[in-house]
């Protein structure tokens, strides 16, 4: 709690305490903590002298501002029409079976979260997905399996 307070205060000092500062502060929190907790939102509200509900409203509007804890690797599959026509549903099915979770869930070990997102701007190379900040395009179920295995091996060797 004290840490969050410190983090939010620092961000408010940096970005200011007006309504326009809200978004950069929220982005700052996501950058540090990956998601914006209830405590963090209350602190932001306190710093900017607005209601916590207003902070929540803004945070829930944006796909990349998370209000729930996520896994270490966040997989975002583009859900728009072009990617869908290129087989995004099969890609998601494969991800669900490899990770043993449903769309929107996080694996029990806290490593992977599977989400959909709006257009990633890779329509010419769909289906596309992001794992954290890394884009992957022209996906097929086979390709997705390989990518996830690579991350899993990386995790095993890191331990």
């Amino acid at each position: 709690m004290a840490e969050v307070k410190q983090l939010v205060k620092g961000l408010a000092d940096q970005h200011g305490r007006t309504m326009e500062s809200l978004l950069p502060i929220l982005q700052g929190i996501v950058h540090q903590e990956q998601h914006i907790s209830e405590d963090a939102m209350v602190e932001v509200a306190r710093e900017l002298n607005i209601s916590a509900a207003q902070v929540y409203g803004t945070a829930t509007f944006y796909s990349f501002l998370h209000t729930k804890p996520l896994g270490k690797y966040v997989i975002r599959v583009c859900k728009t029409i072009t990617c869908m026509m290129h087989g995004k549903n099969q890609v998601i099915k494969e991800l669900e079976s490899v990770l043993k979770i449903n769309l929107g869930e996080t694996t029990h070990d806290g490593k992977f979260t599977l989400l959909e997102t709006n257009c990633l701007g890779q329509c010419h190379k769909g289906p596309a997905m992001l794992i954290n900040d890394e884009p992957y395009t022209e996906l097929t179920p086979e390709k997705v399996r390989e990518i996830i295995m690579k991350y899993k091996h990386q995790e095993i060797s890191a331990n």
Binding site: M41, Q54, F61
Partner: protein
């Protein structure tokens, strides 16, 4: 350049000031354009599109509520295109709305229902999406029920909570098809900063936000042979109840209301105004005592300004927003709770009924009063002091259910012992009223003379201006109060919590040197309360306010300390203001609450 704009609406020429909207121009020539998200008290949102009209020469339909008039404009409000568009908009809204109308509390009073009936929205317009939406109902609060399945996302509530009350307990969360009106993390209203003021309830066009009703409980009590039912009626109910029963705004229906309550079966019909007078005695003395400690004894531990405490929405607001200023709030309970505490002690003894057999009901213009009655502190009689709180609207519904023809009822009088009141108590229902009542008494206590205003009417504290600061010079005091000689008593009146916030920020930052502040959570004071008949607007509140001051003028007794029943209560039971019994029954304490 003339600042008048000339245009034609449905071929009728209109001339209106520049900057006005098409909606306003249409109103001027008595053309009604339907609206849903629009509300006179709030900023324009333009999000429901029900008010679309056609401009000749343009393909697009324009939202009448948001579109300013232009010179030479020709508007059609009733073309085929407009009617088709409106019907489709209503159909789309209904497709996401749980149209469970026959079982809805707002049945017959719902703006969406009215529009659906006007446009004959059939059954097969669009696929009914309600089953796929996963809507939830929040009924944990003792005051307000939030049913998302009835919400059409017009955001009147969001704008009310933000603009009028500066609270923003409700906001718009998520986006697109998932967009919803939500509290912080979608927590129950009970857990967040909501003050239960009910202003959102007053403005919700559908049944998405309603008060929690206690009608069944009250009917059971009325039909019980073993229970003695006592009812009290707040000052602002008598000038608004008529509106919910087909009368025009501003009608005083005190006598008819008393008749109706007897007909409903209440055993004792009493008046909250009685304890409003009592509040003035207790709170007025508290003010004078604080002044004495601060001015004469230079006691730092005593806080000024003193603020009123009768508005439960205001009390919960300050508990959340300015906990450091809680020592400034008068410890006097609100008239409702003073009444409750006395009914199950003093009154019970008088009528020789055991307090456990009394069911104490109050009729309030307020939804926050339901929460107040539920507070754990409000059990000083050893029982729940006020068992059930009904809004003005709920009472109107009971009268209808009982088949009473309200307009033809004869006038009746309140029962005695706790039924007498002064004009000072009646004006509690209007912003500035508590201040005026307190001044009428306090000035006389200190100087031995009446307040130096014509006919006791302290006009500067009246009106609808947001924040009113008034100073009164105290001169030629009685010897006992010599330390107040020449003191300029600085007072301030604010209504609506956004104005309250401004005043309290000034107090907190040391930028205001008031002695006494009156704050009412609702615009206009209790007469504009969240439990009052719907609709509300500046014009309606003005009418109600006029009625309240008329009722004051008509009262033979105009000052709280001259109420004979209050004098008798002190002689027989309380002994003295701020005395031991008062402290036990009539005063309370406050709790710091989560800031957000």
């Amino acid at each position: 350049m003339s600042d008048k704009i000339n245009l034609k609406i449905d071929n009728i020429a209109v001339s209106i000031k520049s900057g006005a909207t098409i909606l306003e121009a249409a109103k001027k020539v008595n053309i009604r354009i339907p609206t849903l998200c629009y509300h006179e008290d709030l900023c324009v949102a333009g999000n429901c599109r029900v008010c679309v009209v056609e401009q000749v020469g343009s393909d697009r339909l324009l939202p009448a509520c948001a579109m300013p008039v232009n010179e030479g404009m020709e508007i059609n409000t009733n073309s085929m295109k407009v009617r088709n568009a409106r019907k489709q908009i209503v159909e789309l809204l209904v497709s996401e709305h749980r149209a469970d109308c026959t079982r809805c509390y707002k049945n017959g009073k719902c703006e969406l229902q009215e529009l659906s009936s006007e446009y004959i929205v059939g059954e097969n317009g669009f696929i009914d999406l309600v089953a796929h939406k996963g809507y939830t109902i929040d009924n944990f609060s003792p005051s307000i029920i939030k049913d998302d399945s009835k919400c059409i996302r017009c955001q009147r509530c969001v704008r009310t909570c933000d603009q009028l009350q500066s609270i923003s307990a409700l906001t718009v969360a998520h986006k697109g098809e998932h967009m919803k009106v939500s509290s912080f993390f979608d927590k129950p209203m009970f857990e967040v900063v909501c003050t239960n003021c009910g202003q959102c309830v007053n403005r919700c066009p559908t049944g998405a936000l309603t008060e929690k009703t206690y009608l069944d409980e009250v009917w059971s009590a009325l039909n019980s042979d073993t229970k003695h039912t006592v009812v009290q009626t707040a000052p602002a109910v008598r000038i608004a109840l008529g509106e919910a029963l087909g009368m025009p705004p501003g009608e005083i229906v005190t006598g008819k209301m008393v008749s109706a309550l007897r007909r409903l079966g209440f055993n004792s019909v009493l008046d909250t105004d009685f304890t409003a007078d009592l509040t003035i005695i207790e709170e007025g003395n508290e003010l004078l005592q604080r002044l004495k400690k601060v001015v004469k004894e230079k006691d730092d531990s005593v806080k000024l300004p003193l603020t009123t405490s009768c508005s439960p929405g205001w009390v919960k607001f300050i508990e959340h927003a300015f906990p450091e200023l809680l020592p400034n709030v008068s410890t006097a309970k609100s008239p409702q709770q003073m009444f409750g505490a006395l009914v199950k002690t003093f009154y019970a003894k008088k009528i020789e009924v055991k307090p456990e057999n009394i069911v104490s009901v109050s009729i309030m213009p307020c939804t926050a009063k339901k929460y107040e009655a539920d507070r754990p502190e409000m059990r000083s009689s050893g029982f729940k002091d006020v068992d059930y709180v009904l809004t003005t609207r709920e009472l109107a519904l009971m009268i209808k259910q009982a088949g009473i023809d309200f307009a033809s009822l004869p006038d009746d009088e309140y029962d005695s012992i706790m039924g007498e009141s002064s004009g000072a108590a009646v004006i509690f229902g209007a912003t500035g009223g508590v201040m005026e009542a307190a001044l009428r008494t306090a000035y006389e206590v200190v100087t031995g003379r009446e307040v130096p205003f014509d006919g006791l009417n302290i006009l500067p504290v009246r009106g609808m201006e947001n924040i009113r600061a008034v100073s009164i010079k105290i001169e030629n005091v009685l010897p006992e109060w010599d330390f107040l000689e020449g003191v300029e008593l600085k007072t301030c009146v604010a209504h609506g919590l956004s104005n309250a916030k401004q005043v309290m920020e000034a107090v907190r930052d040391g930028k205001a040197d008031y002695h006494f502040i009156e704050i009412m959570a609702c615009p206009g004071g209790c007469l504009g309360g969240g439990g009052q008949p719907i609709p509300t607007s500046p014009a309606i509140r003005k009418k109600r306010s006029e009625a309240i001051y008329n009722e004051d003028e008509l009262k033979p007794i105009r000052k709280s300390h001259e109420n004979p029943e209050v004098i008798h209560l002190y002689e027989e039971f309380l002994k003295e203001p701020l005395g031991e019994v008062s402290h036990q029954l009539l005063h309370t304490h406050y709790t710091e609450r989560n800031r957000y």
